[in-house]
């Protein structure tokens, strides 16, 4: 079942990142499918927790560098077939039935998606369509996107792990909001990376990042990191303001969103301390 879990994790990322490559309506389909597959991951995870089975998020790098989207679509179908063959390793028949049904439907739609050339998502051109970036702005944006796409992936998994391993409804509500927020950011940054020709899947997480003992310290560190991210967004907004009003306002928007994340983490921290 651990292999099944890893393969679902890889399929989730492969589907999400294929969505970033697409410039057509397929993008939305792939986003929805990645949501469903992420849900599958959480179902298996909850089953692990119920049965007290050790698990982790360590996976090999997911290769995505292709010239045509059909190569990725065929890869997704192949990955789904491999998962279907292993579904029997999950002995919860309700989960197995739901997953099988979802995966059959996803496969049927994947087979209908149109061909697209996607070379530009990987050409390292670092030019943003219709926007003239200075060298400083371009370099700052490049580093920011590499740092932040990893950070958002990390946060999704950290909060997901915390949620799966906690029965506290108050904290789980906060963790779920933070997961949803990180999904939004991951998608914003992933699309920008594809537009700039630097799309890549984040590296896997070291176990100690999500298997921590001290939630209070994790939240304190998280608040400091969010404050740091706010500063980065402000700097970036300034760096790109001459090149693009649109970018500048986008980064100010992200900067202000971090306030909400900080407020949520402070709420969780206050709750822990009160307890």
């Amino acid at each position: 079942m651990n292999i099944l879990f890893k393969e679902i994790h890889e399929l989730w990322l492969a589907t999400q990142f294929t969505g970033f490559m697409s410039q057509t309506k397929s993008r939305q389909e792939l986003y929805e499918f990645s949501n469903i597959i992420f849900k599958h991951l959480t179902w298996i995870e909850n089953d692990f927790v119920k049965k007290d089975i050790a698990y982790g998020y360590d996976i090999p790098q997911v290769p995505i560098k292709v010239t045509h989207i059909s190569v990725m679509i065929n890869d997704l179908i192949r990955r789904i077939e491999a998962i279907e063959e292993k579904l029997s390793s999950c002995d919860d028949e309700h989960i197995t039935f739901r997953m099988k049904s979802d995966l059959e439907y996803i496969t049927s739609i994947l087979k209908t998606l149109p061909e697209e050339e996607v070379e530009s998502a990987f050409d390292s051109n670092r030019a943003y369509p219709n926007i003239e970036l200075t060298t400083t702005a371009r370099d700052a944006l490049t580093v920011f996107l590499f740092e932040e796409i990893y950070k958002e992936y990390e946060l999704i998994l950290v909060y997901n792990y915390s949620k799966a391993n906690s029965n506290n409804a108050f904290l789980n509500r906060i963790f779920q909001i933070l997961i949803d927020e990180s999904f939004f950011h991951l998608r914003s940054f992933g699309q920008m990376m594809a537009d700039m020709g630097i799309l890549s899947v984040p590296r896997s997480l070291m176990e100690e990042i999500y298997k921590f003992d001290d939630l209070e310290q994790f939240l304190k560190d998280g608040i400091e990191e969010e404050k740091g991210a706010k500063e980065e967004c402000k700097k970036l907004a300034q760096a790109v303001s001459d090149s693009s009003e649109h970018f500048a306002s986008f980064f100010m928007f992200i900067n202000n969103q971090e306030n909400y994340h900080i407020a949520l983490m402070e709420e969780a921290l206050a709750y822990i301390n009160k307890k």
């Binding site: 360590d58 090999p60 790098q61 560098k65 990987f122 390292s124 670092r126 490049t142 580093v143 590499f146 740092e147 630097i198 799309l199 890549s200 590296r203 896997s204 070291m206 100690e208 990042i209």
Partner: protein, 155 residues
């Protein structure tokens, strides 16, 4: 491929990243200031009486610069003897004076992780239960601009 493209390529596709299940040595480079760390996994074989790095991987809690440094240094270290690896470590550390402090800290962390892994292997030849060795970096990771700002704030 020019230098800039080369770096982007390492950021997009870091080489040798991840756990190495068949490793027989591990070492850690750490930055005690901010908790960043690099683990270096080695699969070592003995060749003509000298330890030889047959395979190498790394994992890190750190920034993109650390990942690029890890990708480059582990690529250089794959398929060389321990004595060549020691040279690689000294050359890397010797070059750090010429790079910005925050970048120097990242490269030093990787080089020390490799050094720690070589030393762990040597110790385990004498005592197979010898624990993993960790070394702390000496470079400061705080960017100069931020450091100046912090000094201003303290005033």
């Amino acid at each position: 491929m020019n230098g800039e493209e080369h770096l982007i390529e390492h950021m997009m596709n870091p080489q040798n990243y991840g756990n190495l299940p068949e490793h027989n040595s591990i070492g850690m480079g750490k930055n005690p200031q901010n908790g960043e760390k690099v683990a270096i996994y080695l699969k070592v074989v003995e060749k003509e009486g000298e330890p030889f790095i047959e395979d190498i991987n790394f994992q890190a809690i750190g920034c993109s610069t650390t990942i690029v440094a890890g990708s480059i240094i582990t690529s250089e270290a794959k398929g060389i003897t321990f004595s060549r690896a020691e040279e690689l470590i000294s050359v890397t550390i010797g070059m750090l004076d010429n790079v910005p402090p925050e970048d120097a800290a990242c490269s030093e962390m990787v080089a020390l992780g490799l050094k720690a892994s070589l030393d762990t292997y040597r110790e385990r030849q004498k005592d197979p239960q010898f624990p993993m060795i960790s070394y702390h970096i000496s470079n400061d990771c705080t960017p100069q601009e931020q450091e100046n700002q912090e000094i201003e704030e303290k005033r």
